[in-house]
């Protein structure tokens, strides 16, 4: 296992260097001299311009700029933003990354969880009108024009019904004068949720160990989930920052739901296909012949095997997820990496754009790694002995 991991990490590293280089190259091709943008007045003497260029490292030969950039990257130095000069790119991105991560992870987890469940149930059922309806719905969600869909969602639930805010991360008016910093509150929220999740997983594991009956296990696990969730809510409810936390959560719901819905359609369809293939296998017939209840055959035998191609499909879906995240942030004015990326492109802020792409690349590669590990856990046939 360890050898597998190290080999993968090295592969990832090489891939990442190539990726970063391509990104950097592309951005060098972007037209426009940043110094023109920063110093709009042509009357300022050339010497000042040159000084600025030197400060930004633009006077170095291209290959030197390249190597400097790469080495700096691994030291956590992403350069200085052109458009928000003299802010450091890393500082700008630092706040945005967790926001995008929360958006993407919540939407993805939700979509895969509900999508797998639905796809599994549909494939198991006998067909008929409901199945057709779900399939059509799934295809619709998968092919709908996403920017349009997001706009409609925002309008319907934000404007028309007024249930959710019209985009943005927080209601600025609410927070003014509160003395609280949105980012730190957000970080605390993430941390507490993460801790709760860890506690829950630990409890699940303990429960599995101690009790032997399947039904008792399931009930205890559900109880544990409920308890942990209640504890989390109670904790935040009793804290002084509770309205602010609620505000953030309130703003998060709609963008996550929108991105999640579209992913849900695709996952449901893939799961259905995978289940149908699995249901034709011999061991399913054997499971039925063994006298196992339908639910056990469906979940423990069929769905468990159908899960594998679905997990693999996530890797292919990542590109779409990233694109979807960018659009979601644009339409919902969600201040994450996607928004920064778009803003950077418009003003040719090369370091910022490069930084955003690079971080995305790192996260993507980690996602690949996690999926690989997950797959080895799920499929004993490919475990390295």
């Amino acid at each position: 296992m360890l050898r597998f991991l190290t080999r993968r990490l090295i592969q990832m590293f090489i891939l990442f260097i190539i990726f970063l280089s391509i990104v950097w190259l592309l951005l060098q091709l972007m037209p426009g001299d940043i110094t023109d943008t920063l110093i709009g007045d042509p009357n300022i003497p050339l010497s000042t311009r040159l000084e600025l260029a030197e400060r930004l490292g633009l006077d170095q030969p291209v290959w030197r700029q390249y190597t400097t950039y790469i080495t700096n990257f691994f030291q956590g130095e992403l350069g200085v933003s052109f458009s928000r000069y003299p802010q450091d790119v890393w500082n700008i991105l630092w706040e945005a990354i967790p926001r995008t991560l929360v958006l993407v992870l919540s939407a993805t987890l939700l979509a895969y969880w509900m999508g797998f469940k639905s796809g599994k149930l549909i494939a198991w059922g006998r067909g008929g009108k409901t199945e057709q309806g779900f399939i059509t719905g799934g295809i619709f969600l998968q092919t709908v024009f996403y920017p349009w869909f997001a706009i409609v969602m925002l309008w319907v639930f934000g404007f028309f019904f007024g249930w959710f805010p019209i985009g943005r991360f927080i209601s600025v008016n609410l927070w003014q004068g509160s003395g609280l910093d949105a980012t730190s509150v957000f970080q605390q929220l993430i941390l507490s949720t993460f801790l709760a999740l860890v506690v829950y997983l630990g409890a699940r594991h303990l429960i599995k160990r101690t009790s032997s009956k399947l039904i008792v296990q399931q009930r205890l696990q559900r109880a544990a989930a409920g308890l942990v969730f209640l504890a989390l809510v109670a904790y935040w409810y009793s804290s002084s920052a509770r309205t602010y936390v609620a505000d953030i959560v309130w703003h998060t719901i709609l963008p996550v739901a929108t991105l999640g819905l579209v992913l849900f359609g695709a996952v449901m369809l893939i799961t259905r296909t995978s289940m149908l293939e699995t249901l034709g296998e011999d061991y399913i017939l054997t499971a039925r012949a063994k006298g196992l209840p339908n639910r056990v055959v469906r979940d423990r035998h069929a769905a468990r095997n159908a899960l594998l191609p679905v997990v693999t499909s996530f890797v292919l879906a990542l590109g779409t997820v990233i694109g979807g995240a960018i659009i979601t942030e644009e339409i919902f004015s969600w201040p994450g990496m996607g928004q920064l990326f778009l803003q950077g492109i418009v003003v040719s802020d090369i370091p910022l754009v490069a930084g955003a792409l690079a971080i995305t690349g790192v996260l993507t590669l980690f996602a690949h790694l996690i999926v690989d590990i997950l797959y080895t856990v799920l499929d004993p046939r490919i475990r390295i002995s």
């Binding site: 499971a287 012949a289 063994k290 006298g291």
Partner: protein, 346 residues
């Protein structure tokens, strides 16, 4: 080695008592083009401790019959009429839940290509444990179960260490044995073995057959063998049934059917097997192809290919009638069928 251990009990059997009575079973598959008459009026009885075989070409309905007994047919199958009585109780009248209780516990099945009977993501031992959990809920704790599974493995000649391994770590023949072990787990009264030796090499084939015979004798189980390989079936069964185009055309004690088949199809089938010891004669294969069961031939379903067919065969379907003790044939002209000089060497 004795198998009479706790949980694997030998039964006291009365060879005259019927265990499974199949009576006039009719089953159709419903497809877009119409009804496929896959099992038509099949009647036979398996007695306690008896080994029965069903032979026939691919598509003759033998596997469909087997699945029909356990009600494991696909969704588009419909039972038109007939009864399947297990110890007097008609299985076709039970609810799905009641049927599920009897599956594996009373009747177990070893499928064709048993290698693929294993779910690749769970350990073999755990998959056997599943049956024990389902049918003996609360009666066996984990350790008892483990010991039982280990005994099963030993009984079929598998090393005990393999219990916690995954299916892909077993060879094909080992997987086959493991399937048999799982089939024995609940000490069923009847095991249905569908092509138990196909896809195995001849030596392993022989071993598996001997195992099954031994287990059957020691545990007092009945077995229903399904195969297209007559030679295999002839060796291990007490009674033999020949199926053609969804119908049971001949049935009787294996020694009789094998040495003196009375139905033209059975006769031609046995004649098409080359013999090493007998006189040299030209192989006379069957001409033509099995009929389309969507529109089966009128009268006797074999008449288009039958060298002994007469006018009556085209018009009237022959019943499965007894011609001597326990030997039944469905043919109007069975007396025309010549002798087949073949000795059954056991």
């Amino acid at each position: 080695m004795t198998l009479s251990l706790e949980n694997l009990q030998t039964r006291r059997i009365d060879p005259n008592q019927p265990l499974l009575e199949v009576e006039n079973l009719v089953m159709h598959y419903k497809i877009k083009a119409g009804d496929v008459s896959a099992v038509d009026n099949v009647t036979f009885t398996i007695h306690q401790g008896e080994a029965v075989g069903l032979v026939g070409e691919s598509g003759c309905g033998k596997t469909s019959t087997a699945l029909a007994l356990l009600r494991l047919l696909p969704a588009n199958a419909e039972y038109m009429s007939g009864e399947v009585r297990l110890n007097g109780e008609d299985l076709l009248q039970l609810t799905e839940d009641e049927m599920r209780e009897r599956r594996w516990k009373d009747i177990a099945m070893v499928f064709q290509g048993a290698m693929n009977s294993w779910n690749p993501v769970y350990r073999v031992g755990d998959q056997i444990r599943e049956v024990l959990d389902t049918h003996f809920r609360g009666q066996m704790d984990i350790d008892t179960q483990t010991r039982h599974i280990e005994k099963l493995f030993t009984a079929v000649g598998l090393p005990v260490e393999m219990v916690d391994r995954y299916p892909h770590e077993f060879s094909g023949g080992m997987r086959q044995r493991a399937v048999i072990a799982m089939a024995l787990a609940c000490s069923p009264e009847l095991i249905i073995a569908d092509e138990p030796t196909t896809a195995l090499d001849v030596i392993v084939q022989d071993q598996i057959l001997r195992e099954l015979k031994r287990i059957q004798a020691e545990l007092g189980m009945s077995i229903l063998y399904i195969s297209h390989d007559i030679a295999v079936i002839a060796e291990v069964t007490d009674s033999l049934g020949v199926m053609y185009a969804g119908k049971l055309v001949e049935y009787g004690p294996t020694s009789e059917v094998f040495s003196r088949p009375r139905h033209p199809y059975a006769y031609l089938l046995l004649r098409s097997t080359p013999s090493i010891t007998g006189p040299r004669r030209k192989l006379a294969p069957l001409e033509g192809e099995p009929p389309d069961l969507l529109n089966p031939p009128s009268g006797c379903r074999f008449h288009p290919r039958c060298p002994f067919a007469t006018e009556q065969c085209v018009v009237e379907e022959p019943p499965l009638a007894e011609i001597s003790g326990g030997h039944r044939v469905a043919c109007w002209n069975y007396e025309e069928v010549p002798e087949l000089e073949m000795e059954l060497v056991r």
